[in-house]
């Protein structure tokens, strides 16, 4: 109905080509990370896992990894908490300032990160605070919030208010309802949001670069290593591991979300 068979296959071919273009550069990183040569070029000189093993001897990298995990974990909790407030407010209540509030919370998505980072840097230094992992978390929560709100809104949106009313009607107070009805139902959304913000924070570079001070996160560490050509294979090995971690987390989040969606299909009506 939408297009002729010929048009459709042209479109499909285009789609496949597009995906290839999307993935090709990303594949280079893991490919060369197993290559013996230090320079990433063809022909490949031989398979090795040395670069991965060498990661074990990079104490700086280990520090950066620990820093990144700390930042990502803290960020995901705070961004999800704040995001849950916003998502609940936007899906459950009507108020006049809603479009404005939504707009403001979504702004970081549209702004160049360097402007966010530098603006925060200016204020932090003016106020006399030290740059640290805390300031990185502050920045990361800000840029993760729009993503959390988006994920949580789509999870909260199907939530049927009468379920809360039913719980109250059956004798539960506000807290009991939250614990016994609301939380179990929105849990997949919350987990999704935690994972999404964790991943974004783990991978985020620009804000971390401006706000981290002496304590580097993984991306900042990688940025520092790019100056040394000899370190490139190790960086590629580390980068490959990060790719795998990010994609793994994304897939977990997707599974949790789907399962939740299937389990909690809004109690629909019977089709006669």
């Amino acid at each position: 109905m939408m297009a002729g068979a010929k048009n459709r296959s042209v479109l499909a071919a285009y789609a496949v080509a597009y995906i290839v273009f999307l993935y090709l550069p990303v594949v280079l990183l893991p490919l060369f990370s197993f290559n013996q040569s230090i320079t990433p070029s063809f022909p490949l000189t031989g398979f090795t896992t040395d670069w991965y093993l060498a990661l074990a001897d990079e104490p700086e990298m280990h520090n950066a990894l620990i820093n990144s995990l700390k930042v990502a974990a803290t960020t995901s909790v705070f961004a999800t908490l704040l995001g849950a407030c916003a998502a609940r407010a936007f899906t459950r209540y009507k108020f006049r300032a809603k479009p404005a509030a939504e707009g403001i919370i979504m702004t970081p998505l549209f702004l160049p990160e360097i402007l966010i980072g530098l603006s925060m840097l200016v204020v932090i230094l003016w106020l006399g605070f030290e740059l640290s992992l805390v300031t990185v978390v502050m920045g990361h929560v800000l840029v993760c919030l729009p993503y959390c709100v988006t994920v949580l809104i789509s999870s909260f949106d199907g939530f049927d208010v009468t379920l809360e009313e039913a719980s109250t009607d059956l004798g539960e107070g506000a807290l009991g309802t939250l614990w016994r009805v609301i939380l179990p139902i929105v849990m997949p959304g919350l987990i999704s949001s935690l994972i999404v913000s964790f991943t974004i924070s783990l991978d985020e570079f620009v804000l971390a670069f401006f706000l981290s001070g002496d304590e580097a996160t993984l991306p900042v560490y990688i940025w520092g290593q790019l100056r040394f050509a000899a370190k490139l294979p190790i960086v590629m090995a580390l980068g490959s591991l990060m790719l795998v971690a990010s994609i793994g987390l994304l897939i977990i989040s997707e599974i949790v979300r789907r399962r939740g969606e299937r389990r909690l299909k809004p109690s629909g009506m019977d089709t006669p």
């Binding site: 939408m2 297009a3 479109l11 499909a12 285009y14 789609a15 597009y18 995906i19 090709l24 990303v26 280079l28 990183l29 060369f32 990433p40 070029s41 022909p43 704040l82 995001g83 407030c85 916003a86 407010a89 936007f90 459950r92 209540y93 009507k94 108020f95 006049r96 300032a97 509030a101 403001i104 919370i105 970081p108 998505l109 549209f110 702004l111 160049p112 990160e113 360097i114 402007l115 966010i116 530098l118 603006s119 200016v122 204020v123 929560v141 800000l142 919030l145 991978d203 570079f205 991306p219 990688i222 940025w223 790019l226 980068g239 990060m242 990010s246 994609i247 987390l249 994304l250 997707e254």
Partner: protein, 303 residues
């Protein structure tokens, strides 16, 4: 759950019923995230705007001196004007390229992907979840003088000498940015296509429109919001991109963000950096506004 009004409720009931109205509860709940964003985004941006109107050196008493000098410099120095124009130019080109390339794939996923739709969306979004820095790094590996592309061409004998100009120019910057922001363009267009009522397309065909005419008269105007949204969400962040120009652009491909960073860093001229930041935002803002107006005009013409 409403507020008790009038004289109906007893005094006791009123006491027990100091409940917030629905609207007030919603606002109260939205307050923490809203306050956070305002505090960490709006306040710093205001601070940068203030900073941009100060002179580099404080006066004899150590007080800040208000000054327009930074703006005068930004808007008269050919170096900065050139960088501003180049950055906004690159961002507009990148936005248009990404959107034009993204539309067919969004269309494909929305209408032709059938039961594989979810898989396609996953495929499209996966690269987005990988570190932006690493994606740019991959491109650097691909485009380098002895990088993947050149070496594979040399190795297979397709060329005798490596291409010189793959890396470190504006073309490379545009390619990498278009690649990095692809998802941002696909998703809004996809959403607007999915929401499109298909019976409208059938009606158009029924009333005699061919595929092309139907696309121009129905599909495109009705997905205009998605297209404009995609343009915005690609254009605005790319204009201020920092990583790609540094790793891919080299000397000939630097953008305004590099200059801003330099002012806050090496040059240690924060007020000038602030003025550059504000000027960048204003310029992108005007470009965005221009696109919005153009899109609206184009939308009217299509009818």
């Amino acid at each position: 759950m409403g507020v008790i009004e009038g004289e109906g409720g007893s005094a006791l009931a009123k006491l027990g019923n100091i409940k917030l109205s629905e609207a007030a509860r919603g606002l109260a709940l939205a307050m923490p995230p809203l306050a956070y964003t305002l505090l960490l985004l709006a306040v710093p941006i205001l601070a940068v705007i203030y900073l941009s109107f100060t002179a580099r050196e404080p006066d004899a008493d150590g007080n800040m001196v208000m000054s327009f000098a930074n703006y005068v410099r930004v808007w008269t120095d050919p170096l900065y004007l050139h960088l501003l124009a180049r950055s906004v130019g690159i961002s507009v080109i990148v936005a248009v390229i990404t959107v034009v390339l993204a539309y067919p794939i969004a269309y494909f996923i929305a209408f032709e992907s059938g039961k594989w739709r979810h898989l396609w969306i996953l495929l499209i979004t996966v690269p987005f979840w990988t570190s932006y820095l690493l994606r740019v790094l991959s491109w650097k590996i691909a485009l380098g003088q002895s990088g993947a592309i050149n070496s594979i061409l040399l190795w297979t004998g397709l060329i005798a000498t490596p291409f010189e100009g793959l890396l470190y120019n504006i073309g490379a910057v545009v390619t990498v940015l278009a690649h990095s922001y692809a998802v941002f363009a696909i998703l809004p267009i996809y959403v607007s296509l999915v929401r499109l009522d298909r019976s409208l397309l059938e009606a158009a065909t029924d009333l005699g429109d061919g595929a092309v005419r139907r696309f121009v008269r129905i599909t495109l105007p009705l997905t205009q919001r998605g297209v404009v949204g995609a343009l915005m969400v690609v254009m605005i962040p790319t204009a201020g991109d920092y990583v790609t120009p540094v790793l891919i652009g080299g000397k000939d491909g630097i953008m305004i963000a590099n200059q801003i960073q330099a002012q806050f860093g090496k040059a240690n001229n924060w007020p000038l950096g602030a003025a550059l930041s504000v000027s960048t935002m204003l310029t992108i803002g005007f470009a965005a506004l221009a696109i919005l107006v153009l899109a609206r005009k184009a939308g009217r013409l299509a009818r």
